[in-house]
Symmetry: C2
Subunit: 164 residues, 2 copies
Amino acid sequence: MRVLGIDPGTVLLGYGVVDGGASTTLVGCGVLKASPRLPVERRLCTLFDGVCEIIESFRPDEVAIEEPFAGVNVRSAFMVGRAQALAILAAARAGAPVSYYSPAEVKSHVSGYGRGDKAQVRAMVMLQLGLKELDESLDATDALAVALCHLQTRHVERRLASGR
Amino acid sequence: MRVLGIDPGTVLLGYGVVDGGASTTLVGCGVLKASPRLPVERRLCTLFDGVCEIIESFRPDEVAIEEPFAGVNVRSAFMVGRAQALAILAAARAGAPVSYYSPAEVKSHVSGYGRGDKAQVRAMVMLQLGLKELDESLDATDALAVALCHLQTRHVERRLASGR
């Protein structure tokens, strides 16, 4: 199963694509950027078109989006809500099922506990993907962590369903 | 100038279209509904498609969206941010300029002060549009108020620009 993970923002939007199966492999990752000097409608369009292109290129089976509910103020929540919406719309219009994970869930799945810092998450992402180097920003690493979290969740669900 | 006003929500999204000029007239208004039982991605898609259809049918020159920053909690802010994003995306993809107004700005423009209740806003919207009856929900009335607020703002801008 191929999963696209998204760390949503209206200036920087991280994405990471991983394939799960016998082994878990990195397919691609990066960061979409929209200048904060652009009006919000141009930024949302730019990022929406970008996510649509990523979905068209990588054709993920499912999409996982980070959903922070705690630790942000109301103004940030508006911005993250907007960024999530464009990612959700791009995924849903392409017919890909969408799942949502809090930052604590992602950290807990990837690094074993919910309070790891970004550098620890990066180290665990590299370990799980068998990478010695990962020349991408932390926003892309966070997106990969969301994708890995979703793969693990699905794996556990399948094991529970099969009674193993 | 034709203005589409939007009162964004992820379950109910109000819209109102008015023509400004020698007189201000109601073109259309209503409420898009997405069942709260649907997953968020289906709701966002339904409302996005709905706003795109409204823009295609009414062909507004500009779009005005209500943007509440105060008086909401973080969870509501996520939801409103998502609803705004789909409206902003629909407008921007159709090439219509987008403006944003706080609820206080809308009330102040439409009813003369920033703290009018919904019934007062409705009465002033009907007065300004020369309507004796308005058989629409308050969400649609709020959207009409946003559109009227934008028309008045543009009118003032034009007068200032022409030095009158």
